[in-house]
Amino acid sequence: MEGIFLVLISSALVNNIVVSHVIGTDPALVATQRRDVAYGISTIMLILLPLTTVIASATTQFILIPLQLQYLQTLVFVILIIMIVYGLRLWPRPFGKSGSEMFLPLAGVNVTVLGTLLLNQQQDNNLFYSFIFGLGTAIGFALMLALLTAINTRVEMADVPAPLKGPSITLITLGLISMAFLGFSGLIK
């Protein structure tokens, strides 16, 4: 029980994928300019990440390791992601009527998902912890997107120097948040 909690906190806050690992930065930059996109991608991620981490973890554990094909890991993961993303799209309305499915390709092709899978493998999580890790990462990602989107709408109206408008000031914001999140360092060993 404590382990679950630790993995969840660790992946969501302490080692947040956006500001600590700086992996989810690219979608964060794109998505946070608009509220509906941010919402859509967050929803997708909350479903996609746990699903893919579990499947990828299973694939590694039951196929790649027995066959001693770990060197193909990255390649297999890329194809897995594509399969899952497009498989989900075939599903009729997997996310209700939110219309979030149109963000699937956008969510699928970015590096966040792959990064999460590889990070998960680094930590040698078992299947269940992989799921928790994926969930935690997705929560952390969604949280960051929510914060950044709200900040962006405020910064958009601010008297920001012209050369820094748009993504540049978002990157500075991200930097400052990263700095703030350094305060969590040492929290979970």
């Binding site: 709200a150 405020r154 700095m179 040492g186």
Partner: protein, 339 residues
């Protein structure tokens, strides 16, 4: 008559202004500065002067670069407050360039890149402090011992030339918070060292008086109506309640509530940093969440995190969350139709 054409109702005004508010805040900081100087030596005052000068200089440079009217913004006092708060959070033994780089980061990056006063997302003083804390952890680690004999000349020497290598131990020591942390990490029981020379009756020796001075300034601000009660009181309450619970659970591993309140920058942060109107939440419910968040994060980082005092990080993290909090805590409009 042309200026009259621009006027619109209302035609009367409460006669408060930013300048007035900022001036009151500076006045309220004075007792804290005096007491801190008393206990930690002249370095505090030197740093205050240094930081304020740097802050004003950077403010002027940035305003000129951004082609904004100097006279409007230079005298609003916000840069002075940033400088003072920064100086009060760093150690008085810090070299002068720590002040310079910290204030530079605070004013240039955290404040003016976002558009200056009113638009900054992050508290400039805390952003500057976090910046130097990450960049120069060693320099910020030496704190003077309470009531150590630091003359003004010595303080200037330390700040501009550097700490002397010999006799370092007679001058500096750990803060009560850092000491507690290192001892607890070393699995030493709290009761074994809490009667040591660093500790007073409420919190750290000397620190409790500093805390009380800031408390007095803060209460005065609250009475004057400059700051509202929500943020400081809820912040203090959460910190108090959390430490009470954990202290009650295991008094050997967790420091007492009073210790948490009266050491470190708790009371300074509660009344002067967390209440910064620009970076705090503006909605009634948002203010509560914001203050509670700072209290919670401060306690978590202090107790389990890697840094001895987590207030700066807690404030910055909650600053980042403020726009989001404001969005989700918008009050219902008057006469909202309940569906």
């Amino acid at each position: 008559m042309s200026y009259i054409d621009k006027i619109s109702s209302p035609y009367i005004h409460s006669l408060t202004s930013i300048n007035e508010v900022m001036r009151q805040v500076i006045f309220a900081l004075v007792p804290g500065i005096i007491v801190t100087t008393w206990f930690l030596g002249w370095g505090v005052l030197v740093h205050c002067v240094l930081a304020v000068c740097f802050a004003l200089a950077f403010e002027a440079i940035m305003l000129t670069l951004r082609k904004r009217p100097l006279q409007d913004f230079m005298y609003d006092g916000s840069a002075i407050i940033t400088g003072l708060l920064f100086a009060l959070t760093i150690t008085p033994f810090a070299p002068w360039w720590v002040s310079l780089s910290g204030i530079c980061f605070a004013i240039v990056v955290a404040k003016h890149l976002y558009g200056g006063l009113g638009y900054n997302i992050f508290n400039p003083a805390m952003a500057g402090y976090a910046f130097v804390l990450i960049c120069f952890p060693v320099e910020l680690n030496y704190w003077p011992i309470i009531n150590g004999d630091n003359g003004i000349i010595e303080s200037l020497k330390i700040i501009f030339i550097g700490l002397p290598h010999e006799g370092l131990d007679s001058l500096s020591g750990a803060t009560p918070l850092a000491f507690t942390k290192s001892q607890l990490n070393g699995m030493v029981m709290l009761s074994e060292f809490s009667s040591g020379p660093l500790f007073g009756s409420l919190g750290g020796k000397g620190w409790e008086w500093i805390g009380l001075a800031f408390l007095a300034g803060g209460v005065w601000l609250m009475i004057k109506g400059i700051i509202k009660w929500q943020i400081p009181l809820i912040f203090i309450f959460i910190l108090f309640a959390l430490s009470l619970i954990f202290h009650g659970h295991d008094p050997e591993r967790y420091a007492s509530s009073m210790f948490n309140l009266f050491t470190g920058g708790t009371l300074l942060a509660a009344f002067f940093i967390a209440t910064d109107p620009v970076t705090a939440s503006a909605t009634p419910r948002g203010k509560i969440i914001y203050a509670a968040g700072i209290g919670l994060l401060t306690y978590i980082i202090r107790t389990w995190g890697g840094y001895p005092d987590g207030i700066a990080f807690a404030v910055l993290i909650m600053n980042a969350a403020v726009p989001f909090i404001d969005n989700v805590t918008r009050p219902d409009v008057f006469g909202k139709v309940k569906s």
